[in-house]
Amino acid sequence: MAAEQGQDHGHDHPPRSDHPVRAWEKREAAIRSLLIEKGLLTADAIRAKIEEWEQKSPALGARIVARAWSDPAFEARLLADAIEAAGELGIEARGVKIVALKNTPRLHHLVVCTLCSCYPRALLGLPPAWYKAPAYRSRAVSEPRAVLAEFGTRLPPETEVRVVDSTADCRYLVLPVRPAGTEGWSEDRLAGLIGRDAMIGVAVVQAARA
């Protein structure tokens, strides 16, 4: 395989990392080299796709949540079809189905992907490292209240916790509860309160953050 030959054979390798090269990294490098050598992909196409995904951020999701808080009709459309609703704001999210989950004072959703790292990337960007870690993936399903407490999230004791495991072809975006004390705020000001973790469901939105 190309990756097991020396470095001097006509194409670039990724920078040396601070750990021994793992088997899956060798496999990825070998497959990438072959795809480029066969003319099926170009290095620039790979670079452009990485750039595209790394430029998406939770600010996209925050705009959607702020609009839903400000416009009940938009909220209804978001809950019916999140991708169409995102499109209304000029946010392109077509590809994988995305479902919005509405939190209320009585029901709190927490999203996890126990099998890998499925995540609404089109609306939140790339997932944080902890979301992909075995500890979060295993504990979020079996002891969600303990996990929430470790994130500093205290819910009213009577609030139902509903864990949603993104196992297959849908991704989930939590629509957090709008905090008290934000009446009359503009969408931009509201969006400034809404962080990534509240849209995963490990946090709640607090007005004091402003």
């Binding site: 189905k97 479902v99 126990t114 099998l115 399903v141 079996s142 002891e143 969600p144 209240r145 303990a146 009577e158 139902e160 916790v161 509903r162 864990v163 949603v164 495991d165 993104s166 196992t167 297959a168 072809d169 849908c170």
Partner: protein, 98 residues
Amino acid sequence: MAERRFADGALVRVRDLAVKGHMRTPFYVRGRQGRVEGCQGSFANPEERAYGANGLPARPLYHVRFRQTDLWPGYGGLAADSLSLDLFEHWLEPAHGG
């Protein structure tokens, strides 16, 4: 969308199929009983798609909700706490009561 076998509200049990390799049914729900919340549409079967086949015909994918106390012995939260996930139709069979 492919014709659905299970209606919203149906009680279902997750089958413990001997599928090897890539599949999207976590072990912690196998043999457990839940309720169909809805259907997400029909999607190509990932167990076949992962190995180069097209996975067609598409199969209904259900959103199924479980009581946490049915999944984890000694679950420490509320009796009302729940967990939901998406399961392909061939992993489900009808359940009764409970």
